[in-house]
């Protein structure tokens, strides 16, 4: 054995709660792991099926067909929307992206308890990993969405590029709520079920299937609806791809959610960092 060489690091509690700056630095140091794990997760998802990764494309196509049949053709919620198919695709895919990130975030601490007990990485990496995996997976519905828009006669415009910042904003918002959902679910597992229900409800309140302006006439109700972040992001996409109008209030609300949700969510999540190893 080599001669004892004194460690010069200061004596510290290994389970101490790290200051935010140190925690962020440790998250940054794990970026390679996060990206690799996200890619691996995606790869493993459909591995046992005959069609394999084709399902990543088939799923959104089938999903959009079902909704189009039920809501477009049978129930006729398309009134007032000239090109309903891409309108619907945008609503469903971008809504379900946010839903997956937030619900996945809620489950992430429980799902990764094995990892939590074996590596001492910042716990915030788990909700972030969910977001990255879902963001990578979003490539498929995103392509379907654009394909549908082009096929149904939408012409390419520079405005489409705005989808990139909108996507980043939406992801930041979603991971912020993912943090909050993760902390609540850690102490109260039932929240997973409640969250499921909340999203079922939000699906109908966020204009996924219909154009809110046509249904919500009351100005006060419209003003409140503008504050719904899910509706905000869906509307922004519809503006970018289909040229639907968005008001200033909606844009301000979306910006506020983009900035406040991740910061507040992370800080609130990180305060209980030390607890997350408990069973």
């Amino acid at each position: 054995m080599s001669g004892p060489e004194r460690l010069d690091a200061p004596l510290a509690d290994p389970s101490r709660r790290r200051p935010v700056v140190e925690d962020l630095r440790r998250i940054w140091a794990r970026r390679d792991f996060l990206l690799f794990a996200a890619g691996s997760d995606l790869r493993a998802q459909e591995m046992d099926t005959v069609l394999g990764n084709t399902w990543h494309l088939l799923n959104p196509v089938l999903q959009i067909l079902v909704y189009f049949l039920v809501f477009g053709l049978i129930l006729g919620t398309d009134r007032g929307v000239p090109n309903f198919l891409p309108f619907l695709a945008i609503g469903i895919f971008t809504f379900s992206y946010m839903r997956k990130v937030i619900i996945g975030g809620a489950k992430s601490l429980h799902k990764n308890r094995g990892l939590i007990h074996s590596i001492s990485a910042p716990r915030a990496i788990f909700p972030i990993a969910v977001m990255l995996t879902e963001a990578a997976a979003f490539a498929f519905p995103f392509l379907v969405m654009l394909f549908v828009a082009v096929v149904t006669g939408e012409s390419l415009a520079w405005r489409w590029l705005m989808m990139i910042p909108i996507f980043v904003a939406q992801s930041l918002f979603a991971v912020g709520l993912g943090f909050i959902a993760a902390r609540i679910t850690f102490y109260f597992r039932d929240f997973e079920n409640i969250l499921d229900f909340l999203f079922r409800m939000a699906f109908y309140f966020s204009g996924v299937l219909f154009f809110v302006d046509k249904f919500v006439k009351d100005p006060t109700a419209r003003r409140i609806a503008d504050l719904n972040p899910l509706l905000d992001f869906i509307s922004l996409y519809r503006w970018a791809v289909l040229g639907f109008p968005v008001g200033t209030r909606l844009i301000v609300s979306a910006l506020a959610w983009t900035l406040i949700a991740p910061v507040a969510g992370y800080l609130w999540f990180q305060r209980r960092e030390r607890d997350y190893g408990r069973e």
Binding site: L7, P14, F33, A37, S118, G277
Partner: protein, 223 residues
Amino acid sequence: MRRRSREFTQVRAVTDVSFKVKTGEVVGLIGSNGSGKSTLLSAIAGLQPLASGSIRVRGEPTLLGVGAVLDAQLSGARNVMLGCLALGMSRSEANERFDDIVEFAGLRAAIDRPMRTYSSGMRSRLHFSIATSVDPDILLVDEVLAVGDRDFRRRSLKRITDLQGSAKVVVLVTHGLHQVRKVCSRAIWIEEGRLMADGPPDDVLDQYVAFTGGADESLDRDD
């Protein structure tokens, strides 16, 4: 390290255990199943919040347990990368060590197959190779020695001895008493979460063997 205990839903796994480990020491942590060895180890790694007492360490302790990170659906190669990155390596460091890890695990031919097609021996060899590819300040090893066939066990024991060169402190949880005699400079015996003995391996092990009736010792004589 001072007095510590961990409590959650009425489980007090470790109580009133105090000891101090100096740089250069290799400590073997022994005790029956459920005695609190693993809890103690993960507390040192900072993975268990303490109900009372305290633990102080210099540097970053690394617990050798990457099993939880690995995904049976993925190829052995992808798992090597995943495990290395989880242990805190950068992608280029992981790439650098990739060949050594595969070589040590003896899995060159099978590395592109999904890990679910591996035998349990192959899996544990891969775990061990990944886990021991880091050079930490404080190395915490939980029961990874008793894996694989005789040849692999012999090589892994040597690997741990090599790691002692780069790590400043090694704490080893094991049932392999023979290994403790062979590689440790000190042994700590805990039973039902309480400290029973602490000292030179031979003294502590003799007491432990007398306590258990000599059951454990013969298991791994052939290493």
